[in-house]
Each structure stands twice: as structure tokens, then as C-alpha cells.
């Protein structure tokens, strides 16, 4: 039953078209489309578990002439992450926008973003990946500009330029590969790459473009303004999902398309940059005066962990330890998606109720918004990497690998990064638990506070206690 693969892309796309044509029904169309594409992902789970990893040639043409969609354990986990985060954020967004014109603009673009993400996670064709990247970038840029403020539009413009530059790097690599190997299909290209100049040049420009898109330090400069100036639901989507797309593609390219091309120096460089991202991002998050900026810099740091893990994975000798590290890597990516979207939604609640997100003036937040404060604390647990969150298991494995590969510098960097993360999370909580001078009443708002809380619970409890199956699943469905 391969219809489910196409449906996960087509359903949000149809929703986007309907929402663009009938903007007044945006909320209803949006929620329905997100739900239905989530169900399609569920259906895809069934067919994956029944038939194993599979692929489908679209249009009925052989891969090479036509385009291949493919699904395996990694892509279904990414799809599920997208579906769940998108659902929670959509519920929150259905009541977030106060101006109707803004809500009308949000839904079609939001659904296009989901369609692009689903398409990207299923694509098995290098040029098709480029098209999904473009759709993702453009919808994300347009969503960033939705706030309508000058700073937001300036950040969106910079985001657009960076996105285009990254896409062009990726496209240049695709063009090189096509001219050398005469095909765009990932598996057919993978069968021909080696340590020849063309593969190397393609690997360099494609990776550079994608690192720019996934904001690896020091190419992260565009991320904090874009993520901190967008409306809260958009920030959640950008930080949790969109930057993961670039990381996912680097992972796919390195492990599947260029396994023999990648050099030790390249891997070392990415590990060094990842370490820089951890330290710089965490330090900047600690310095931030606004909550949204803190969350954005925290994303820079968390991407650093992912790239460090990827570099360690690529340099680890084959064996059980390597497989375990791969599962840890995926688990960290999933946990960050849930934790960070929860954090941004919670910040959105605070900003809505308090009218600002200045950290120094958060006193009384715990009294006024207990559920939201709880969500921030839980998300913080996952961001620091404390037990029982999924990030704890991931980081544990990461440290273990770094020690067994004698990468002591990385061990130190990860340690300092975690301490800094603890510092910035507790700085927020310290202010939030400060007593307000005014007597305030606790506010409970189900649709406003629950999405953040559920996302944080998923990151901290579900992905901590209930994630043991991920390792065998990744191994059998690769």
C-alpha cells in the first residue's frame, strides 16, 4: 500500500490550496489537513511495519527517468515528529492570531511548509530534494515575515538570501553529479560516487549549502533574528522542524550518497564547528535578554550537538557502538524538536499574557501561568539533557562514544555546554518563580497552554522512558 507515501505530501498540499482559495475557512481547513496528513503518516507506519522499507517510482516511470519516493525508519521518525509537532502547534495557532488577516495568511503557508517537509523526508531523488528545499525555504521565509514588524521583515529578507545561497550550493553539487553520472536518483548516484574529484567537489558544495541552511556555527548568524522575530507558532515550526531538514539531508548524503567520498578532515571540521556551536550558542543564550532570543540561540547550540554526534558517528568504527550512536543521534533530534517547539509555544503564551518576553521582568509568571511555567521547566530538562528526557539518553551515548574514541576535547565541550544550558534554563525559571509584588490570579487556558505542555511531556517523559524501541527499529528498517 504505497498510496500513503504520496498522501502524506498531497494532503497538506491540498489543504494549503483550499486555505489559499478560501482564507475565511483557514482554521478549519488547516486543522483538518494537519490531522489527515498525520493519519497518512500513521498509515505509512502500518505499511512500513508490514512490508519493510520500500520505495515507489512516481508516474510509473523507472527511477532515473522518473522520481523515486522512499521510506525507511529514519524518514518515518522524521515524518512522525513533523506530524505531532505540527498538530500541537496548529492547535495553538488556531487561537493565536488576533488579527484575522494574519490568520488568513498563516494557514496556507504553514500547510505548504508541512507538505515541503514531508516531501523532503520521503524524496529519493537529488533534484526533487532541491525542489522541496526551495518550497520549504520560501514558505518558511514568508511565515517569518508574517509578524509584519520591520525587524521581522528584515530578518526574513536575510533568511531568504541565506536560503537561496544554500540552495544554490546544493544545486551546484546536483548539477555536477548529474553531468558526471547521468542520473539524479540517489541510489543510482550513490552506486557511482567515490573519492574522485567530481564526488568530492559535489560533496563540498552540497554540504556547505546545507550547513548554511541548518545554521551550523559560524553560519548561524541569520537564525537568531529570524527565529526570534517570527510569530510564536512560526518560531516553533522553524526551530523544531525546518532546521532539522538541513541536518537530515546532510545525514542522508553523508551516510548513503557519499560514504566513500567523505574525508577525515571534513568530518573533523564539522565536529569542530559543532563544538563551537555548542559553546557559542549556549553562551549567547545565557546572555540573551529576551526569552525568544534565548530559545533561538539554544537552537544554535542544540544543532551543534547533532553535528558533533554526526561527526562521531561517521568516524566510529563499524559495530554495535556505532549503531547505538546512530539511535542516540536520532533521539536527540526528536527530543529537541518537541522540547524547542514546546518552549516557543510557552514563550508565546507568556508574551501574550504579559505583553513582553523580557527575562528580567518575568516575576510572578509561575503564579500566573503555572502550567506554562511547568512546560518551560520540562522543556528545559530536555534541553539540558537531564534524565528522564530523551536528550539524556542521547547525550549519554554521545559522551560514551566521545570517550571511547579518545575525543576528550569534545567531552569537555559537551560538559561545558550542558552546564551553560542548565544556567540559562535556571535563569529563566529563577525569574519565573520570583514572587510578583502584585497579587495575581492563576490563568488556565486549555487550547493555549496544553499544546506546549504535551510537547514538553513528550520530549521529557515519552522519549525518555518509551524510546528503547528506536534502536532495534532503526537497525531493522534501515
Amino acid at each position: 500500500m504505497n498510496e500513503s507515501m504520496s498522501l502524506t505530501i498531497i494532503l497538506p498540499l491540498l489543504g494549503a490550496l483550499l486555505a489559499a482559495a478560501w482564507p475565511r475557512r483557514g482554521v478549519f481547513i488547516g486543522i483538518t489537513a494537519v490531522l489527515l496528513s498525520g493519519l497518512a503518516v500513521g498509515w505509512l507506519w502500518f505499511s512500513l511495519l508490514a512490508d519493510g522499507p520500500s520505495h515507489q517510482a512516481l508516474g510509473g516511470w523507472d527511477p532515473g527517468l522518473g522520481i523515486r519516493l522512499q521510506v525507511d525508519a529514519l524518514s518515518i521518525l522524521m515524518l512522525s515528529m513533523t506530524a505531532l509537532v505540527a498538530l500541537a502547534v496548529s492547535v495553538y495557532a488556531s487561537h493565536y492570531f488576533t488579527r484575522r488577516s494574519q490568520a488568513e495568511r498563516f494557514w496556507p503557508l504553514w500547510l505548504l511548509m508541512i507538505a515541503a517537509l514531508n516531501g523532503l523526508f520521503l524524496a529519493g531523488d537529488l533534484f526533487n530534494l532541491y525542489v522541496t528545499l526551495e518550497l520549504l525555504s520560501l514558505s518558511a521565509v514568508a511565515l517569518t515575515a508574517l509578524g509584519g514588524k520591520r525587524a521581522g521583515i528584515a530578518a526574513a529578507l536575510r533568511y531568504l538570501m541565506i536560503g537561496l545561497l544554500g540552495s544554490m550550493g546544493y544545486l551546484a553539487g546536483v548539477a555536477l553529479l548529474y553531468s558526471a553520472f547521468g542520473t539524479l536518483d540517489m541510489q543510482q548516484v550513490a552506486a557511482q560516487t567515490g573519492d574522485d574529484p567530481v564526488s568530492q567537489a559535489a560533496l563540498i558544495v552540497m554540504t556547505a549549502g546545507l550547513l548554511l541552511k541548518s545554521a551550523l556555527f559560524p553560519l548561524h548568524f541569520w537564525l537568531p533574528p529570524a527565529h526570534s522575530n517570527a510569530p510564536a507558532p512560526v518560531s516553533a515550526g522553524l526551530s523544531a522542524l525546518v532546521v532539522k531538514a538541513g541536518f537530515y539531508l546532510v545525514l542522508r548524503l553523508w551516510t548513503e550518497v557519499f560514504p566513500d567520498t567523505l574525508s577525515t578532515q571534513g568530518v573533523t571540521l564539522v565536529a569542530v564547528l559543532g563544538g563551537g556551536a555548542i559553546l557559542w550558542g549556549s553562551w549567547q543564550a545565557l546572555q540573551a535578554e529576551r526569552l525568544k532570543l534565548l530559545a533561538a540561540y539554544s537552537t544554535v547550540a542544540q544543532l551543534g550537538y547533532l553535528f558533533v554526534a554526526l561527526a562521531l558517528f561517521m568516524s566510529a568504527p563499524p559495530g554495535v557502538a556505532r549503531e547505538l550512536l546512530f539511535g542516540a543521534l536520532v533521539l536527540m533530534a526528536l527530543t529537541h524538536a518537541f522540547a524547542k517547539s514546546s518552549l516557543f509555544l510557552a514563550i508565546g503564551v507568556i508574551q501574550h499574557r504579559a505583553g513582553h518576553d523580557r527575562i528580567a521582568e518575568l516575576d510572578g509568571t509561575a503564579q500566573r501561568l503555572p502550567a506554562t511555567t511547568f512546560a518551560i521547566a520540562l522543556a528545559g530538562v530536555a534541553l539540558i539533557g537531564l534524565p528522564p528526557s530523551g536528550a539524556f539518553l542521547g547525550k549519554w551515548r554521545l559522551l560514551y562514544s566521545a570517550i571511547s574514541l579518545d575525543q576528550w576535547l569534545l567531552v569537555v565541550v559537551i560538559g561545558i555546554g550542558s552546564l551553560l544550558a542548565a544556567a540559562y534554563v535556571f535563569r529563566v525559571l529563577g525569574h519565573a518563580f520570583g514572587r510578583s509584588a502584585l497579587s495575581v490570579q492563576a490563568i488556565h487556558s486549555v487550547h493555549e497552554e496544553w499544546p506546549a505542555l504535551l510537547l514538553a511531556l513528550t520530549a521529557t517523559l515519552l522519549l525518555g522512558f518509551g524510546s528503547a524501541w528506536i534502536w532495534p527499529f532503526l537497525e531493522h528498517m534501515a
Binding site: 508516474g59 527517468l65 522518473g66 484575522r100 514568508a142 567530481v198
Partner: protein, 316 residues
């Protein structure tokens, strides 16, 4: 033409491209830069034609040079007086960017030469030729775009829609320019029907010769831009619902074709080969309308009054 003469032509084009590109980068004012860029686009279009890629040449001339030029000129008009002070980047930035670009060019040139020396092969072009008769059209470019890789084209139309929605959400359209002078207005009156005719021709001819929805849509959009510039009263955008339907129609028809093939055969966009020609024309017809609408609305620089729902108060 003899090979020698063609070589001179190529040489002139290469030099012209370089001179125009450098000129655009170092122009005295943005206005000069834009005009040089438009001319650069035309020469690039010629170069594509010379490389025997007439489809790309048409697209480059119509979109890369024509409409992009109109967009840039319109954007120039939006500047406020103070904006023109051309800010020069600090020297270290220029050097860094220059160094990076040089490294990239060397890297790409090296890889490219390796390809040329070694395994230059085009097995895919042969497969396309061999499969062409099953595609429903006889122009290989159209066969690839609308049948073999139709899913890519569907997503590309969606990219255009995302760009359109992005521009529409930035604010209301820019104020209309002053009406054209009588001479220009008369000329525009002649040009518009010709552009519409040429657009229709390109759409139809795309099935077996260079042309297709993107080029045709660009020409129709150019006609709309001219009508707008000429202040023609006959030219009005449709109302809210129809305007929105026009903008999504291309993607929507394409997606519906995809859904019906999915329901019918279980494979997305598997066009039955008897119907393929007709379905491709249907898709291209609506795609042309949507592309023209999108390009024209983007040219307006913001949403026209009828874009938003009526109850929504226009926000400044």
C-alpha cells in the same frame, strides 16, 4: 554559418557577458546596474539559444530578463531619497567574499574539467528519446517537465504559489504609477493583443516544440504589466474569490490530476498514455493562468484590495 564565424560570435557573447556582469556590479547607481542586468539577461538568453537550449532561452528572456527587470525597476521606484547613498562594504568583507567565490569557481572548474575529460555521458537523454512516444507529447522538454518528472513541476508551481503568498502578506500593493503618455499608451494598445496571441501560441506549441506554460505565463504577465503601466481602464483584476481561484488553479488542477491517478492506479501522476497529451494540455492551460496571475501580482509589490476577505480591515 561557418564554424569560424560561429566561434567569433561565441567569443563576442562571452566577452559581452563578462563586461555586462562586471559593469552591473560596479555601476555608478542602482539604476544603471539594473539596466545593465537586464541587457545581461538578454545576452544570456542568446547564449542559451546558441547552446541549443531554446526552452531555457525563452524562459530566460521572458522571466530572467523581462519580468525580473520590470520587478527590479519597480523596486527602484520604491526607494526613498536617502536610500540611494550606495553603501560600500568594508575592504575585508570584499576580500573575504572575493576569496570565497574564487575558491568556489576553482573547485567547480576543476570538477567540471574532470567530468569533461572522463565520463561525460548522457544516458538519460537517450532514455527520454526512447520513451518519448509514451509521454503524450513530442517535445522532450515538455515530456520531462509534465510527465516523467511531473511531480517536480507540481512542487515548482507550488514554490511559485508560496512566493506569491509571501509577497501578498507583506502589505498592500504599491501606489499606481502615473499614466503613460499618449504615444506609449497607443503602442501598449498594439502590444497587448500581440503578447496574448504569442502566449497562447507558446502554450499550444509546447507539446511538440520549445514553449510551454512558464514561457506563456510570463508573456501574459508581461501583457498585464503593460496594461497596468498604460493605465488601461478595460483592465481590471477579478474579485476576491475569482482572483484567489485563478492564483491556485494551476496547482489545484495539477494536484487533482495527481489525486485521480492515485485513486485510479495507486501511483501518483501516472498519466494513462492515451490521455496523457490531453491531460498535459489541461494542466498547462491552468498553470499558464496561475503563473501569469502570480507574476503580475508579485509585480504589484503587495496585495491588491480584492485579495483579502471583505470583512478584513485593510491594515496599513
Amino acid at each position: 554559418m561557418k564554424a569560424g564565424a560561429l566561434l567569433y560570435l561565441d567569443l563576442i557573447m562571452v566577452i559581452l557577458m563578462l563586461v555586462l556582469a562586471i559593469g552591473a556590479l560596479h555601476a555608478r547607481s542602482l539604476r544603471h546596474a539594473v539596466i545593465l542586468f537586464i541587457v545581461f539577461g538578454l545576452v544570456v538568453a542568446l547564449a542559451w539559444a546558441r547552446l541549443r537550449a531554446p526552452d531555457i532561452a525563452l524562459a530566460e528572456a521572458a522571466i530572467g530578463s523581462g519580468l525580473a527587470g520590470a520587478l527590479l525597476l519597480a523596486a527602484l521606484r520604491d526607494r526613498r531619497p536617502g536610500d540611494d547613498a550606495t553603501r560600500r562594504a568594508p575592504v575585508w568583507q570584499s576580500v573575504a567574499v572575493g576569496g570565497l567565490v574564487t575558491a568556489l569557481v576553482v573547485l567547480l572548474a576543476w570538477a567540471f574539467l574532470e567530468v569533461q575529460g572522463g565520463r561525460a555521458n548522457e544516458p538519460l537523454a537517450n532514455i527520454v528519446q526512447a520513451t518519448l512516444h509514451e509521454s503524450g507529447v513530442s517535445n522532450p522538454v515538455t515530456a520531462v517537465l509534465l510527465n516523467f518528472r511531473a511531480y517536480d513541476t507540481l512542487l515548482e508551481l507550488t514554490v511559485l504559489l508560496a512566493a506569491l503568498l509571501g509577497v501578498m502578506s507583506l502589505g498592500p500593493q504599491r501606489s499606481p504609477m502615473r499614466a503613460a503618455e499618449p504615444m506609449a499608451a497607443g503602442l501598449i494598445g498594439w502590444l497587448i493583443p500581440l503578447l496574448i496571441l504569442a502566449g497562447g501560441y507558446l502554450l499550444w506549441v509546447g507539446a511538440h516544440a520549445p514553449g510551454g506554460a512558464f514561457q506563456a505565463g510570463a508573456l501574459l504577465a508581461a501583457a498585464a504589466v503593460l496594461a497596468h503601466l498604460g493605465g488601461r481602464r478595460e483592465f481590471q483584476l477579478p474579485g476576491h474569490t475569482r482572483l484567489r481561484l485563478l492564483a491556485v488553479a494551476g496547482c489545484a488542477v495539477f494536484t487533482l490530476v495527481g489525486v485521480s491517478t492515485l485513486l485510479g492506479s495507486g501511483v501518483l501522476l501516472q498519466l494513462p498514455s492515451d490521455w496523457a497529451g490531453g491531460l498535459i494540455l489541461l494542466i498547462e492551460l491552468f498553470a499558464t493562468a496561475s503563473i501569469a496571475t502570480a507574476l503580475f501580482l508579485v509585480y504589484l509589490g503587495g496585495h491588491p484590495p480584492s485579495w483579502n476577505s471583505r470583512e478584513v480591515h485593510p491594515d496599513a
